[in-house]
Structure formats: structure tokens, C-alpha cells
Symmetry: D3
Subunit: 323 residues, 6 copies
């Protein structure tokens, strides 16, 4: 298998491209989160009859940023808390029903786990339709203005999910972590950047990093929606605006705000989230304690060995974190 197809590993290990952050990046997010905070969470839990013992399984609904009708799964150990809490973010266009089993398994591991479906995707509704047409999918919805970009709501929702879990009596507010893969990996880092609730983050092959390179280099996957948009809208001003908008959401630009212990994985033959985009974001992370696990023979897929690392990292920095 031709690898690494992107850059040689030696080059990746030193790849720290300049940031593309706009001057008002922090202000943009402060305003967004303030606005988001004004909408009440309005959470509702409904017990699900799941054939497992030792956990309670709920379907949860929640109001997202801009009143989006979010839904998800919440699983907590049956025994008394406080439990360590974990918010799971899922991949792009991923499966809702299947997700429940993963969430239950994390519950069986002793975590109180909230898995919120991303707006528009899975079981969650959207509230802020794109003011202009876009390519099938969500990558280019609202992309002509950071105020309207789809991921503005998504990142804000990621923070709202943390707030809800933080307020649960059975959860230890000082031991809440975030994790996810691909889109969920990008959201993990974004949430760790935008909220001070999480004390640990584990991001598997995070998406949404270093857009300018990703659009050029990714041979497959949702970055291609952006390419398609630029094919359908060939005006150079639009191209500039698109990358301008994305600069507000580029996890690489937000990375320096992440300071908690953070574990990241990358596969050298990953064609959806190219290695260089992940190395770039990783190198800009502000965390003192951080580790990047590199998998030479893996692409955008479940990496069994990393799952072990992830369980271990969460055990060390979350479950058994000194309080």
C-alpha cells in the first residue's frame, strides 16, 4: 500500500504550517457562546428498554443552539455516583441506531455518557437552514458567512452537551471528558477549545483540521463537498469567502486553546482526513500533556490498538483523575 501518500513521516513530524486564524476568532466564538447560553437546555429523558444490566439507558432530547431539536443517548451506571462523565461526538453522516451499543458499552465501563446526535444528522433536527443553496451534505451549508456556517451550530451544541452533563447530580463535575472520531474528533478538539468543562480529550483522526490543505489533498470523503461547491461556484471571490469562513472553524486555528491532556490518533493511509492535516492541528495544540499515536498501516477506520490507548488515557486522566 503506497504510504505515506501525503508526506513522508519525517516531514509530517515537523509539519507546523502557519495558522490561518482571523483576527476576530476569539471574539466570534465568545459572541457565539454567549448567544447560545441564552437558550435554555430544556432536556428531556426517556428510559429505553435496552437488554443490559448495570446501566440505565435513556433517549435524551435537548434544545441546541438556535433552538435546534437535538436528540441522543444518555447512559449511566445504575449504581450511585458521582461517576466520571463523558461526551461522545460522532462521525459525519453516521448511524444513529448503531450508536446506542457503543454508548452502552461506555456505560458498562463505568462512565455516565452522553452521545448527542449532531444537528441535521442522525436523530437531531436542524434549526438554522442555509440562506443559500449548497452541495448535498452539510459541509457547505451557510458557508458564505461564518455567522451562518453549519458548524457554528455544531460546535455550540458540543459545548451545550457538556453543560448539560456538567449539571447532572450523578456526574462528578470535575471529571468530564470528551471524545470522538473523524467529525467527532474535530468536535472533541473544538469542545476542548471552547469550553472549560472537559478535563481530558481523546480525538481519533480528527476531521475539520487545516482546511486549505485538506481540500487539495484528500482523495475521498466530505472535504470533497467543498471542492464540489467551488466547482459549482467558480467566482474567485466566493472561493476566498469560503476559505475565510472556514478559518473560523478550522480546528488547527482553535488548537492553541486546548490545554487539557489530549490524545490524538492518525493513520498514515487515511484518505478522508489526510495525515498532514492532523499533524498540523496536533502541533498547534496548547496542551502540556499531549500524545499523537501514528498508525502506519491504517486509514480512516477503527484501530483496535488505539482503542486500548484511549481506554487507558481516559482511565488515567478521567476515571482516576485526582479530584
Amino acid at each position: 500500500m503506497l504510504q505515506p501518500y501525503d508526506m513522508p513521516l519525517e516531514q509530517l513530524q515537523n509539519y507546523t504550517p502557519p495558522l490561518s486564524a482571523p483576527p476576530d476568532l476569539d471574539a466570534f466564538w465568545e459572541a457565539t457562546l454567549q448567544e447560545s447560553g441564552r437558550t435554555p437546555l430544556d432536556a428531556n429523558l426517556e428510559l429505553v428498554d435496552y437488554p443490559a444490566e448495570g446501566v440505565h439507558v435513556f433517549r435524551i432530547t435537548l434544545r441546541g443552539y438556535g433552538e435546534a431539536p437535538l436528540s441522543g443517548w444518555y447512559v449511566r451506571p445504575t449504581q450511585d455516583g458521582p461517576h466520571p462523565g463523558l461526551v461522545l461526538y460522532h462521525g459525519y453522516n453516521w448511524n444513529y441506531e448503531g450508536h446506542i451499543h457503543d454508548v452502552v458499552n461506555w456505560g458498562l465501563h463505568g462512565y455516565a455518557v452522553l452521545a448527542m446526535a449532531v444537528r441535521g444528522q442522525q436523530g437531531s433536527g436542524e434549526s438554522m437552514p442555509s440562506p443559500h443553496g449548497h452541495v448535498a451534505g452539510w459541509m457547505t451549508a451557510g458557508i458564505l458567512d461564518p455567522e451562518h456556517y453549519y458548524y457554528r451550530g455544531v460546535y455550540a451544541d458540543a459545548v451545550r452537551a457538556l453543560s448539560w452533563l456538567h449539571g447532572r447530580p450523578e456526574v462528578d463535575a470535575a471529571r468530564i471528558g470528551v471524545t470522538g472520531g473523524s467529525q467527532g474528533g474535530g468536535m472533541t478538539l473544538a469542545a476542548a477549545a471552547l469550553s472549560n468543562i472537559p478535563v481530558v480529550a481523546v480525538a481519533e483522526y480528527p476531521f475539520l483540521c487545516h482546511f486549505t490543505r485538506a481540500v487539495d489533498i484528500a482523495p475521498a470523503g466530505p472535504y470533497g463537498e467543498i471542492t464540489e461547491y467551488l466547482r459549482q461556484n467558480g467566482d474567485p471571490d466566493i472561493e476566498r469567502q469560503v476559505f475565510q469562513t472556514l478559518s473560523y472553524f478550522d480546528v488547527m486555528n482553535l488548537a492553541s486553546r486546548v490545554v487539557v491532556p489530549t490524545l490524538v490518533s492518525v493513520g498514515l493511509i487515511d484518505q478522508l482526513t489526510p495525515p498532514s492535516t492532523i499533524f498540523a492541528a496536533f502541533h498547534h495544540l496548547g496542551s502540556e500533556t499531549k500524545a499523537l499515536r501514528v498508525y502506519r498501516y491504517f486509514g480512516h477506520e477503527f484501530i483496535p490498538r488505539f482503542h486500548m490507548e484511549k481506554l487507558q488515557w481516559l482511565k488515567q486522566y478521567l476515571k482516576h483523575a485526582s479530584k
Copy 2:
């Protein structure tokens, strides 16, 4: 090329499956159009500097059903009218910028042409986000309830576009037609069913026909989004609800309301809109004058010979229609 892959031609020619129309189909659409009619069109025209002579080219914006910010192209001959009018509906996830050239060419043929971008797609915004999560694309947005289904707005917008053209002073209100291919072919038939403005319809390999069979038989294309939704949501009640919703939008169920001269094309190796789904809708058309052109060696693609037929049909039943 293995053909016909779907049914043998002889069988197709007699394929008239029973309708799946719900009892309140007419009531549903009457209510929808009444509601739609309450929103003003609020059209705005902006002249575009297109390097052609003999036509004026405009970018048009319009309010759609539920206030969706629609946009499109309007092209009219420079000479005085009244001109025959034509509304073009486009294919699924299709290209906005490229569309302008087709519209201009129709204008050069002497028609006043309105090409409205479909909500969410191309240059048009959406106004009614899905209250629940769905698969990337638009086929399953709001699919759990006919009131919320994406194509409710789309069909209503198709009728609104007709209303606008009908009110133009340079257009002969008695000579307005509708045409389009694929999604645009389905919209053409839907518009002819739901509005009494058009006096002729030309639908190329129409999409959105005979959903129950299409979902099972289509080897490629957007019907697959419905399959994917049913994979992600395996509850049999959801499956029933999905097909219940679709029955309100199935062009086959609306076909008997179409009474104007209607020309339809079908390619026998079309893998996106399988032949049987089109024959089914065609056989249920209420038009006295109707023709189905069958192309044995063609799939879902531009069929040069049919373009000639289409020009001819519009010339006969629209341009030179006795007023």
C-alpha cells in the same frame, strides 16, 4: 449492455401498478397551495452582463413557500412580447453556474424562461429545516411527516415560479409551459398536476415516481438515500411512515391530475430513475395527448434525439399554440 435490466420492454409497456395515493391527497395539496399563496412573491430582478445579444439575462430572487430565499435566472427576448413562457426545473444536486447557458439558449429560441433553483440546492436557500436528523442530501429531510417533507416546499415553489411568470407583462399568460429532467422531470409533472397555469409539459426521465419500486430497484442515485435512511432507522414503524409520507409526493399518484399535452422520455438502461417507475407514472397520466419516447441504448444522460423532440413539442404546443 445488459438491457433492459429492469423489466422487458413488452412488460414495461403494460406496466400500470395500482396507485398508493392516500385518501386525503387532494386535500393535502389544496391546503399546501393555499398556505403557500399567502406568502407574497417579492420578486427582484438584477440584470446580468451576459455576452449574448437578443436576450436580457437577469438574476432573480423570489420568496418561496415558507419564506425560503429562492434564486434563479430569468431570460427574456429583447424584442417586445408577448412571448411564450417556460419554467425550467433542474436535476438533483445540480450545477447553478452552468445552468445559465441553457437558460440563455432557451431565450435565444424565443421563450421567456424562468429557471428557479430548488430550495437548498444550487443558489436557493431553505427555510424549513428538517425537524429530525436525516441522511446527507435532501431525500429524507422531514420524511417522517408529509407536512415537513422537503419536497412539500419544492413542489409548492414550482407552482410559485409559474405564478410569477404568469404575471409578467411580456409573457403570454395563455402560453406557459414546464420542462425539466430527472428531479426537474418529476417537478414538471408535479407542477402540471398542481397548477392550471401550464398548457404543456415535457418531462425527461422524471425522478420521484413510484417510490416503492424505485427504492428496491434503482442501482444508483438519490433513491439510495431513502435506503440508507431505512438502514439507519430500522424500526418497521418508521419504514411504514416513510412510505406513507412519500405517497403524498409520488408523481405516479399525482399523474391523473395532469391533463395538458405531455411528452416524457425514458432510457432503458437508466439506473437512477428505473424505466418501470417512469412507465408507471406515464400510464397514469390524465392527459389526452401524451407520448412516451423510449431510448433503448440510453441511461440517465442527455439524449440528443429527444432534445429535438422536446423542441418540436414545445414549438407545437406552446410557441405556436393557438391562443
Copy 3:
């Protein structure tokens, strides 16, 4: 998606082809198991440092039929037993390292679980090399004689794994079940047919059923190795011998020996284990309590909804079985 590609569902539901069992089928397996029983199990457990609480995780080695050096994972709840026991069989050419997480999750569900790697595959060695050349893979190893066929050892090992679990003090010998998907689904049914230890079986899209049809109809997957062998060895006598050998291992032929409550899944677009081969085996199952879950929109893949059914079936017939 064209479906069902194999037979229409109505036909599948009544598809009960005649068996191809050789007259000495029972004698063959009795002899095999007797011979197998003469080799001691020689099990060895080594504690693994897995970052989970509530279970002990072990690497296990075991002698298989013909002294094959089998290895696998054994996971048991830390609390005192007796626990219900479960043997997991894995898919063809599947991943060893990744398997551990699934096994642990079953342990967290409260089962004492043994996942034995299949000989030659994953972590297990083989002891009985094919006396003749074969196609890459295991499907045609020793295929010229039932005595030497690869799956003779595999089925015998499946029974040996049950014997070992049955003898564990922390396991309730009256509550042991078998489960697996694909090759593991075939082994599940074979084990339930050849051993009286299991009291319940759950087989996901079982492989190794109804070989004569499978070889002709499967568009992809390991049945193709048999086709390839018949391409490389064109002698009609060899073709006859191949199918003669396979008749001893065809799960359809063994199915009438299965009498425990058995749950089976089948996806109608499964291209590796075609639906008709699974319906055929299912219809021949001897169990009074049996159920076949049919998934119209699924192929050879994880089916989230069935996982729920499986957990439920095992909870009912294994975990909470009246003792």
C-alpha cells in the same frame, strides 16, 4: 439497491431445498469427535492488563484437534459466579487484536466469554496441513477428502472450546451459549449441532450453508475460493469430490441436529452469504424455538437492530434461563 438479488422474499420464505447429506454423516462426526476427545485440552491462561474494571481478561492457549496450538481471549466478570457462559466464533480472515474489545464488552454484560481464534486464522496455529495444493485462503485446504478438510478441525475445535468453558468452576454449566457471525455463524450452528453443551445459539448471517448454491450465486467473498479451485482443477471427478467433501460440512445438512432455541439473521443484499443459503439452513433447523430476522436493506455487515435482538435472546434464553 437492487434487492433481493437472490430470490424474491416470498420465494425465500419457502425455500427448503433437499439435503445433500451423505449417508455416513453422523458416523463421520461421531468418529471425529471421539478422536478429538482423546487429545487433552491443556489450557493455559495469562492475565492481560486491559484498562477495564469489573472483568478479568486473559489470553488463553489450548490444544485443538490434532494438537493445533489454538489461542484466544477469555473474559470473566470479577465478581463470583456462577456466570452464564458464552463461546464466540469469529468471521473468516478476521482481526485478532480488535476482537479483544468485543469480548470484554460481553464480559461487562455479565457473561464468562471465550473467544477462540480459528486454526490458521488470527492467533491460532494449524496442525494439519493440506496434503494437496490449494487456493490462497482456507476454503480448499484438504478439500479432496472429508478426513483432511480444513473445517473438520475447525468444527472439532468449536466443540473443544465448549468443553473447556463447560468445565470452568465460575461458569454455570447449564447456561452456556454459542454465537458468532459469518464463518462464526456457521460455526455457531455446527457447534450447536455437534455438542449438547450449548443451550442457545445466535448465528448472524451464517457462512458454510448450502454450498452447491452458494458457489454459484455468491458475487463476492470466500465461496469464490472454491470456484477458483474448480477453475484450477477442471477434472469433473474433482468437482464431484469437492462437493462430496463439502456435504459433510454443510451447515444445512447438520441443521436438523440443532434443537436449542436459535436466532438467525439474514440481510437481503448480502453478497458473501447469499440469503437463499441461509433460509435453506434455517428451514432445516431442528429447533422448536427458532427465529429468522430478515433485514431488507442490509448486506454482510454489522446490523445494529439485530444486535439488540441478540442481546435480548441471550438474556432470555441464557442469562435468565431457568436452571
Copy 4:
């Protein structure tokens, strides 16, 4: 999408490889055109019943170089001339019937347009069969000798088409242009190099440029016929002769003879006519006024935005050229 796959854009912008022109290049073409000039054009026009108004549509037949029975479409505005004239050259192995609509559209834009089918392709016959065997297609017909190479006739025919249009009374002989894409783009530049009739040229992703690199780098398309020929004829002398022959037809070698205002397009992910081959030819163009439009996200396909540029360029340098 991995891009640019060929060379980075910065390198392309300075890519001016040395020419491979043989010393007798000019003499070869002078002789060819003189010989061609001795055959009378023998044109014949037959009115076609095309459902458009404002233009007359004809099927034209013409004698080509070496008496090849060429055919094509000729469309002229119905109003009196003189009109600006345009010769269209089409792509390799392209569709004849479909072409008529494009030609009519150019007519509706006010041009008198001749679209000549290329010998052997579409509706035109061939007159000079290859004296030796070749690979399916036309790229290697006669390739062992420049005198016999297929494109000798094609380029000569391209000039003959210009001569015919130049002689039409309704056409302004001082305002004739050439245009086409792919093979037609190569012919556009060749015609502009070999004839002094055209006053403007627009070449979309021209084929037939910089053969030595094209054969090595093009991942798809008709350059592959040359590769296939060299696979079937492995003699190094044949390889040398093939590239020797091609050097007479390489548009890069002819480019310095083009002096009229010339517009060229190139897509950076074009796999049939790789970017570097087009930049190479463009940099060698002799025109004072020339422009290369680069499309980062496009391949070998219709580029809507460039169509606008093309209409504009022809309007400026042809339609409204000062006479």
C-alpha cells in the same frame, strides 16, 4: 481531490520545455497544404428541418484531403449577413447527432457556424486507411510515417473547412474564428497555425500537445492508445519512429505559428489532457494577445465559467472586431 496531480501550479506557470520540432516541419506542412489545395471542396448543402427559428440549419458534405467524404452541420442566421463566421472542431470519438444542438445555439448567437465531423469519426468517412495495423481508435493509424499519419488528413481538413466558410457570401471573410475542446482544441490551434483565415482562436483543454510527456503522464484517455501501440510493438526503433512522426503534429511545435488572439483553458485535475502538456503549448504560442484560464477544481469536462469567457472573447475579437 489530489491536485494538481501533474506539477504544482507554480511550476506549471513556468513550464516551457524545449520544442521537439523536426527541421522540415514547415516544409512538411507547406507540401501537405499545397497537395490538399488541389482537391476541390465540392460542398453540398441540404436543409434540415430543425425546430428553431432565426437560423437555417443544413447538413453539409465536403470533400476532405485525399477525397475523404466529410460531413457536418452548417447553421447560419436567417437574416442577411455578412455574419461573423466560426468553425467548430469536436472532441475525439464524440457524438454526431448531439452536436447539432450546440451548432444551432452558436447560430442563435449570431454566428455562421460550420461544424465539420472529423474523418472516420462521427459522420465523416475516411479516405486514407493506415498502411499498417494499429490499436483500436485513430491515434496510431499510420503512425509509422508522417506522410500517412491520421492527423495529417485531420489538420488539412481543418484548414479546408476554413476555406469553405471563407468563401461564403453571407460570411464576413475578415471575421472568422476557430474553436473547440480536447481534440477540437488541438485542431483549433493547429488550424490557427496552418491557415491565415482565422482571426481568433479559443481552445478548451487542447489535446495533441507535447506528446512525449503526455504519453507518460496521462492516467486516462486516448493518449493511452499510443502506449498500447508501444506495448504491442516493442522494437525501440518503432518507439523512436512513433515519436518522430508525432513531432510533426505536436501542437506545441506548431504553436509559435499562431499569432491571433488566443484563449485557452486548462483544468488542473484533467486526466486526459494533463495540465503540463497544455501549459507547454500555451507558453510557446506566438500570439501577442493570449490568455490561459486555469481551473483548479476541474478536469476534462464542460467548465461553465469558461464558456462565459469564451463567449466574451469571441464577442470581442470576432463579432465586434473592427473590420
Copy 5:
């Protein structure tokens, strides 16, 4: 592997569709061969330095029908004759250089072998260019008139090759056979139908049989050129003419004229020459002694077991034929 994809074997074994022979079929071929006979063969042999002993290897050139400059290989045993003679016909668009080794191997088997390259293909030139445009390849060259159809020359050349071999002093004129695969299989049967020189024929998966079905059913290969032609030329009159022309060349229509012992092979998963087209031709063969070898697991490829049958058949009916 899904098989047989075309018809079930039982149905194939009885598949004898009605012929489509035109009334003047025999007259057409009589006239063609008479005309062909008037051109002298003008053969020329040139010794090739091939590193084998026991055979002389020559490059041969020959005048074909209509003066086409044919070339090929001729290999004869070095020892004195008379030797049995064999004419080899090759597959479509096949490799010239590689062919020499096969020819030499047949020479080493004791045959005087002539392998003539087909006009236009491999090393042979063409003399009769198509009077109209066609699709890349040869299938549609001249297809609008049987007089001009490409295969008229090809079949006539096949007979001319036989004539030449028949006149060689070292060849036993009473022991000459014909063989080939695919296009060469079709030519083998055509030559046996049109010439009384061959005393035996072996046709591997013959092409050019039962065109009406082949065009509809073949998933791949050169029959697709006909489909493509009908896509580019949609006039129903042209479609009728195309099949009218093909009826003169359909090996099924010529089959009853074959009376020598004939061996044919067919693979049930052959996608280029579908099984039913070959069964159809075979069932119409006029030979008293004929055999069809059916290969269930093979497609359009070298079938080792059939090569043995072929050597055996030629040994029995050609090499050791009683003189």
C-alpha cells in the same frame, strides 16, 4: 460468481433461435469471394531469427481482399513435409508481437502454421476505409451497407489465407485446419463456412454470433461499439440497417454451411461473448461431428483444459486424419 448470468444451462442447451439470414446471403458471399479471387496473393516470406530449433519462422506479407497489405507469421517444421497445415485467426485488437510465440509453439507441434494479422489490427493494413464515420474500433466501420462492412474484407481475407497455405508444397492440401478464439473463433467458423479447404475447425468462445442478442446482453467488450454507434445515431432506420448489415456476417447465419468436424468452447461467465450467442451458433452448425465444451467457471480467457481438447481434436481430425 453469479452464473450462468445469461440463461440457465438447461435452457442454453436447447437454445436454437430462428436465423436472421437475408435471402441473398449465399449470393452475397459468392460474389464477394469471386471478386476476392481476382486479386493475386502476392505473398512474400522473410526469414526471422527466432531462437528455436526445429522450425523455420517467417514474416509473411500478402495482398488481402481489396489489396489490403496483410502481414503475419508463418512457421513450418524444418524437416520435409508434407505437414498438416493450420491457419490461426486472432482475437480483436490483439497483440502482434506476442502472437509469434504461439505460432512457433504450434510449429513445434508439427504443423505448418499461418497466422495472418487481421486487416487494420496488429501488423496488417486496411484498404477499404469506412465511407462514413464510426465509433473507435472496427465493429461499426462501414456498417451501413454489407458491401462496405469491415468484416466483409476480414472474412474474405480468412479465405485467402487458406488458399495460400493450400498452395504450399510442404503442406498436405488435404489436411488443413482452422482455429482461433473470440474474433478468431468467429473467423474460424466463417472460414469453414465459406471455404472448402479446411477439414477441421476449432473455435474458442467465438465472437460475431447472434448479433441481435449479443448487443443486448453482453456486459463488456466490442459488441458495445455497436451499442455506442446506435447511441450516436438514433434514427430507427439506421438501427434497422445496422442489424440488416450484421445479418450477412452473423456466424449463426453461416453456421449451417459448416460441415467439417468442429469443436467449440464456451465459458458460462463469459461477458464478452455471452454463452447464449455461442450455443445459438453451435446448434445451427451443419457438421455431423461437432462438440461443444462447456466451462462453468470460466469467462473470456485461456481455458487450460480446453487447450488439451483442442490439441487432441486437431491431432485426431487433422494430424492423423486418414488421407
Copy 6:
């Protein structure tokens, strides 16, 4: 066709990476061959009724290293010897039945030819099963220890085949050569390195060269089994051990031991045995007389022109070698 995809030709021509030979490489092979020598050959010949004259064709069985039941074909000229002898090694997972025709053809060329099926593959059995699980195929069987690695037996068997041929009375013991392609090319070089019987070697695109680069760069083929193994077994210690084991079998490391005249071929677009791996091994060959034929337009396939070179090389250095 993108080429060369691996390195530019100029770089390949100087590519001589450092060896990875372990210090005990020679000792390992000496011990292996000594142990191998202790098992008697126990050859058995059975005449096959092959329809050719001039040769005797036998099915041969032989005991391999570790008692593996090898089988193969032996073909000798019917006339008296002594004949030059040739051992043929075949490609990975290749066809047994088909091989016989090639072997016969070599016999007709005047060689006494032994084609031994590789253990486990084709008609030969295996005797030394892998002590641990592995990926489907043979590349990773026993890969955790050089003593157990699959190719230990294969290379030893290659030498045993030479020994047997060397002892035949009809064979000239001083004129024995080795040849093969792909896996057979690697075995050819290994046999020439490990045995002093062969006096000439011809290796077509040899496999098993320069593993460390091959695993990274090969886009297709059996090197991928190693990648898959490393995906399934992610422990870095295992990765190190795998490459440690392979270093004993890397033909590049053995190449300096080859001193006979050696001809090698390489195709620049070969995706199974990448060019750089072959150049690397070639540059390390110890032969004074050696030649590498480079085929710019060929991949992993039969190269007609090289077959000529091969016949010539064997004629010169084997058949007509001065004795």
C-alpha cells in the same frame, strides 16, 4: 499511463540500497540445506497422455523439505539425451493445470524440464503448518520466526528440485538452468544463490526482493498480506520481528551469492513487484554476466519481447553452452 510511478528511471538505474542481511544469513541457509539434504527425494513419475509428439510428459511427485508431498510436471524430449535441463518456478497462487502446456512447450524446445508446484500452492501439499495464525495466503505463515517461515521450505524445495534433475541420466548435469516469473522469479534467484547446480538464471519481474520498500510501495498484490498482518498485529515488537524474519529470505540479501549469467526483466508500471525492488536486487547480483531488460510500458504481465530474450539467453548460456 503514469510512469514510472515508483522512481524516475534515472534514479532506478542507480538505486542500490544497503542490504538488510542478518549476520547469520549464510549459517541459516547452510543449516537449512543440510537438514533438507537428509530427507530422500523419493521421486515418482507417472506418464501422462498428452496430445503432443516429440516429448514424454509425466506427473511427478517428490518429497520436499520436511516431507512435504510435492507434485509437478516433468517433460523430456523423446529422443536420447543428454538434454539441457531446466527447472521452472511458478508465480504466487498460480494455476496448476494450465502450467502443463508451458512445460510441454519448453520440452518441444529441446529441454528436459521440471516444473515443481510450490508447497501448499497448485498441486503440492504443505508439511509444516504455521505455528501461529496468519492472513489468508502464504506470505505471513510462520513469519514470526525464520525457522518457521513458509519460504524456508519453498527455497529448500527449489534446491531439491535441482538435485533431482541433476541426477537424471537423460540430463546433462553441466547444463541445468533455472527460470520463472514473479514468485518464480524470486525463487529462480534464490535457487541460483543457494545451489551450485544451475549454470544460468532468467528471472522475470522477481518477487520477494527488498521487502522493506516493497511493503510500503506496492499498490497491489501479495506484499499486501504483510501489511494486513501488521494491521492485525499492531505490536511494534511484532513489526520488528516480521522484518527480521523477512531479511533471511530477501532475494536482495541473497543476490551477491548468484554468480551465473543472469537475465532479469522489469516493467516500469509493475504494481505487484515495484521496479525499485527489482533494481535493488539486480544491482546486488554477484554475476559477472548479467542484464536487466527494462520495459517502460509494461506491468506485471507476459512481455512478448522479453520471452524472445529469454529463449535467446537460455539458448546461448544453457543449450549451446560449451561443456
